[in-house]
Symmetry: C2
């Protein structure tokens, strides 16, 4: 794998890595159709505000969300809606995993 290829996959991995955390997936779901401020997300998640803020900065740095400061609040919204399509696929993987596990049980 040469340097150019390596760089391309690294850029892709950065975006996916930003999504690879339960809290951040939850955030993406929450702001999918309605923007929300950090304090709202903090309440929904139940973690320290600084923790939520850092998760949001990871998502923002990857280009997944965009922010908009209005008054004291900063509102975050999903910048790239196609990410939502991913969730259906992931659910498919989980279903397939569950089936495979069930099959393995039967064959014992």
């Amino acid at each position: 794998m040469n340097a150019r290829t390596q760089a391309r996959y690294q850029a892709r991995a950065k975006v996916i890595k930003a999504l690879a955390h339960p809290t951040r997936l939850f955030i993406v779901d929450q702001i999918a159709d309605t923007e929300k401020c950090v304090c709202e997300l903090r309440d929904l998640i139940g973690a320290d505000m600084s923790t939520v803020s850092k998760h949001l900065s990871v998502l923002k740095d990857a280009g997944v969300v965009s922010d908009d400061k209005r008054g004291l609040q900063v509102y975050y919204r999903l910048r790239v809606p196609c990410i939502l399509n991913l969730f259906g696929c992931i659910e498919g993987v989980l279903r397939a995993n569950a089936e495979a596990q069930a099959d393995a049980m039967h064959s014992n």
Copy 2:
């Protein structure tokens, strides 16, 4: 976020986490339409075979790939093709990021 919700997002995150590495993304691309054995992937990637094997086990454990031992070789294939759709979306994010960066340059 209650325990049930937490568990669901954790399960999803596991699958996405399995994809969140340049080498593993490369592997997914490589076996998208043709299964490949570990040694072929090792040559393409240029890392230690044990490293490649561990990447494959992460993907397999998440249910993304399946393996098939024939003779001395173990062949890996993509188990859930819809993951390929993700790549188009990711490229879209990267393009949007590049544009945003270009815009930021102009406004200086």
